[in-house]
Amino acid sequence: MSDPIDLAEAEAWGIASEAEAWDIAAPAGENDAALYLELDGWEGPLDLLLDLARRQKVDLRQISILELVDQYLIYIERAAVLRLELAADYLVMAAWLAYLKSALLLPREVQEEPSPEEMALRLQLRLQRLAAMREVGARLLARDRLGRDVFPRGAPEGLRTNRKHLWQCDWFALVQAYGVVKARTQPVVHMVAARLVMTLDSALARVSAMLGVSVGWVEIMDFLPPVTEGDWSDPRLRRSALASSFVAGLELARRGEAEMQQDGAFGPLRLRRTMR
């Protein structure tokens, strides 16, 4: 058993070590007490435990957890006596350690899970891991560091690869682009090209004349001029002739001069002179 820790000494040790080993070079956030729990230089209960464990001066694998628990509880008690404000997690840890201690000491009838031995081992493993990281952190910082122990070239010329786009555009592309812009934005005049049509008047005259000489139903297609005549083979003109002839038929029917008949949708459309 080591001597109970003198609080003042521990404090002094903590503060001194902090100041000596680390500058709290620090962004504002690190001083945020809510996030950054420090008690006399310890960063939380695990840190304090590790420090206490180190004082046992044995390999962390062989520390006495019971002794460690005692030391921690003594520390907390003293802090309470001195009315030091303890962060809640130090007290939580104290309560947990007190429980662990009693579980380790008392004879057990009912085996609880996890066993106190496992909890103790777990604590020990955590301390080992923190200690390991602390140790390698110090070793890392002690290396020959670039900018502290070894130096890069003070004034490197710097390597630059100027990635230059070699823009390509030729005379024709330029002139053509201007043409495109001009064409796109010049006032647009819509010209409807004259095309051959059969006017309603001529269709009316033709249908009317043909009905006059017919005796029965005549299909509307037969009123159209024959394909062999002039431009009438042009399908666009034929479409116009069909439309005009149809309208002419309707007009004649309206006047009562003709009758129209269609048996079904898209069926043949027939006309005949009105029989009076």
Binding site: Q176, Y178, A183
Partner: protein, 191 residues
């Protein structure tokens, strides 16, 4: 070559890490009063013919890249790239109407012109900012550069074909027809 002695190593490292050329006095002071001239001479001959040279300029020493390798420091990597259609149009408008503001370019193109488009033309060296137009907002106006004329083989902007010539060449035909015709009729055949 014998291994360098300690002073030579120290001088070598100090000059390497120095942000500025150093006089022998400054070096010596830096190295605790050591005599550095011999070390400088030995280093200078050691680096002779290497990729790095130790040189003296106005009594101060520094390392620099060997003169014949200076081209390694600034490499130009040129990537041929075709000017985008938007950039070509903007360039053509500037060439025909210069000086023009961006708003005027947009008015003529009939579409918005991305900021990057003019940057590209300026990076290519064909267009420059040519002052500001004295109207509200004082917009920057753009004009072509001598490089532009050189690149396009023009003696002056007057060499650009006029509207009538463009029309004669079919370049004022509606876009689709013009594009269609491209494959078939070239400007030269149309003259």
């Amino acid at each position: 070559m014998n291994p360098p002695d300690e002073i030579t190593r120290a001088v070598e490292a100090a000059l390497f890490a120095a942000a500025e050329p150093m006089s022998p006095e400054a070096l010596s002071a830096h190295l605790g009063g050591a005599e550095v001239r011999e070390a400088l001479a030995s280093l200078s001959s050691h680096y002779d013919g290497r990729g790095i040279a130790l040189v003296e300029r106005g009594g101060r020493w520094h390392f620099q890249t060997a003169a014949d390798l200076a081209h390694l420091l600034r490499r130009e990597h040129e990537e041929p790239r075709r000017l985008s259609r938007a950039a070509t149009e903007a360039l053509a408008i500037i060439a025909y109407h210069e000086p023009v503001s961006r708003a005027e370019i947009e008015a003529i193109r009939g579409v918005q012109t991305a900021r990057g488009t003019l940057d590209v033309l300026m990076a290519a060296g064909w267009v420059r900012a040519a002052g500001r137009r004295e109207v509200p907002g004082r917009p920057v106006i753009y004009a072509t550069t001598p490089d532009f004329l050189a690149h396009f083989g023009l003696a002056s902007r007057r060499d650009l074909p006029g509207i009538d010539e463009l029309r004669a060449a079919g370049l004022l035909d509606p876009v689709d027809d013009a594009l269609e015709a491209l494959g078939v009729v070239s400007l030269g055949d149309n003259d």
